[in-house]
């Protein structure tokens, strides 16, 4: 009797796929074997936003057989200038539904798997385990560290990208013998010390460039060609149109991927990042506040009140509370003299984070009656004047 041999059915491309991928197939670096590797591959995109959009679009077009997407958000008008997987008719729809439709329209040959869930320490290992490569397109530190640690624990490469205003970063972490995100940054910044994208803004095209780099790295890892961004950290400055490359090293003392790791399972990343409630300022409980309703009453009664707007000039141009004076938070320490003589003061920004810092600063400088406007100008628009545009 012949020994039984398990013969896997060889994967092949149908004629339509050959036509679709012909410009890949005629390149020696990809060819039929590379295209079949792509077809057999699976990639998970964490986030269907600015970075996730170009990543998923290009991976689908390239013929990556199974593309997973994790997201739980709905498409908003403020997404459209950069999240090109979604269109105007998708506003209000789930990002996953919108992304799936678009990817299937580009390439019906690929399988799109949607995970409508907030990635957490409870579910991350199960979700990530099903994929070969993870592409990190999140925008907050707890999830960054969660994805990193899960990739290290599962030995899966983490294709990293990050963006801020005009500047982007990219690398490949947790690859075999390569460093992880914690080797580079053992600890996250305390909340409030680094502005978020929502606060700092981002050039719409920037995630296009960085996400396309991530997609390129994922495809290279799958096919096994070229030099991946392992041990290298790429920094892209769109204003200068300049790429810089820094050397990365695996840290032998890294708590998760070093020689004696102490992080052997997923931890509480909110606690690790010292984030209790992402949208609220961590200083809130210690500073005096007022509400938009109280502010409106004071304005109507023409009370002697100084309304200080600590946003940036470009934000003040979009919308403002009547009678407010603009002094951006960064300029406040050197412009305190302009506030002398004022007693009652209400300080606001967009949502209350920056103005909380400003009130602390004012209290220290002797302006004891300065109060923070809870919810910022967004609360003002919601509750007092809905004719103003939101941003």
């Amino acid at each position: 009797m012949k020994p039984s041999v398990v013969v896997e059915k060889p994967m092949a491309l149908n004629n339509q796929e050959v036509a679709r991928y012909s410009r890949h197939l005629i390149m020696p670096e990809v060819g039929m074997s590379g295209q079949l590797k792509l077809k057999a591959a699976s990639v998970l995109c964490i986030g269907a936003g600015g970075l996730g959009s170009p990543v998923a679009l290009y991976l689908a077009a390239a013929g990556v057989g199974r593309i997973g997407i994790v997201d739980f958000d709905v498409v908003d008008f403020s997404n459209l200038h950069r999240q090109i997987i979604h269109g105007t008719p998708d506003v209000g729809r789930s990002k996953l539904d919108s992304a799936r439709d678009r990817l299937t329209a580009i390439n019906p040959e690929v399988t799109v798997v949607t995970h409508e869930i907030a990635l957490s320490s409870d579910n991350a290992l199960d979700i990530l385990a099903d994929y070969q490569i993870i592409v990190d397109g999140t925008d907050n530190f707890p999830t960054r560290y969660l994805v990193n640690d899960a990739c290290v624990l599962l030995s899966k490469p983490n294709v990293y990208g990050s963006i801020f205003r005009f500047e982007g970063q990219a690398s490949v972490f947790a690859a075999k013998n390569g460093p992880c995100y914690r080797c580079l940054y053992p600890e996250p910044p305390p909340p409030g010390l680094v502005p978020s994208c929502a606060e700092g803004g981002v050039l719409g095209i920037l995630p296009g460039v960085v996400g396309t780099i991530q997609a390129t790295e994922a495809v290279k890892l799958i096919i096994g060609v070229g030099e991946p961004l392992i041990n290298r950290f790429l920094i892209y400055d769109a204003l200068k149109m300049r790429f810089r490359e820094l050397k990365l090293r695996k840290d032998p003392n890294c708590l998760v991927c070093g020689n004696n790791p102490t992080v052997r399972e997923l931890i509480d990343y909110e606690k690790f990042c010292n984030v209790t409630q992402v949208s609220e300022p961590h200083t809130e409980s210690t500073i005096s506040e007022t509400t938009v309703e109280e502010l409106k009453r004071s304005i109507d009664k023409q009370e002697n009140l100084f309304i200080l707007d600590v946003r940036e000039p470009q934000e003040h141009q979009i919308c403002r509370i009547p009678g407010s004076t603009l002094i951006p938070l960064g300029d406040l320490p050197t412009r305190l003299v302009e506030l002398e003589g004022y007693d009652r003061m209400v300080v606001h920004c967009k949502s209350g984070m920056r103005s909380a810092k400003a009130v602390q600063l004012l209290h220290k400088a002797g302006f004891k009656k300065a109060k923070n406007l809870r919810g910022g100008i967004l609360a003002w628009i919601d509750k007092i004047d809905s004719s103003l545009p939101k941003y």
Binding site: T138, F164, E187, P188, V194, P207, L246
Partner: protein, 99 residues
């Protein structure tokens, strides 16, 4: 002699809105000390209360991480460029992924 320090976008607001600042010093420590005595607000973002470089800020001389050179005692030569590279989380709009 003065060397160029590349200031990353998130910290430019604390460095007079400049992307490159020149400072003098024969070591990385001296250079950063001179930089932060001119831009005092930057100090709080680079150093913790014990005066140590914060863990989410890396400093490079040319393309090398000073943690693998001589840390803040790393000597600076004429023409070396120093980069400050903080961690940046921005990405997709998946802002509240962990609840």
């Amino acid at each position: 002699m003065a060397n160029e320090i590349i200031i990353p976008t998130p910290l430019r607001v604390y460095a007079g809105k400049q992307d490159v600042v020149e400072a003098e010093g024969s070591t990385v420590g001296e250079l950063l000390d001179n930089l932060t005595s001119e831009y005092t607000e930057l100090r709080n973002h680079l150093y913790n209360d014990e005066g140590k470089l914060r863990h989410f800020v890396n400093v490079y001389v040319n393309d090398d991480d000073i943690r693998y050179l001589q840390k803040e005692a790393t000597p600076i030569k004429d023409g070396d460029t120093v980069s400050i590279v903080p961690s940046v989380a921005g990405g997709s709009g998946l802002a509240m992924a962990i609840k």
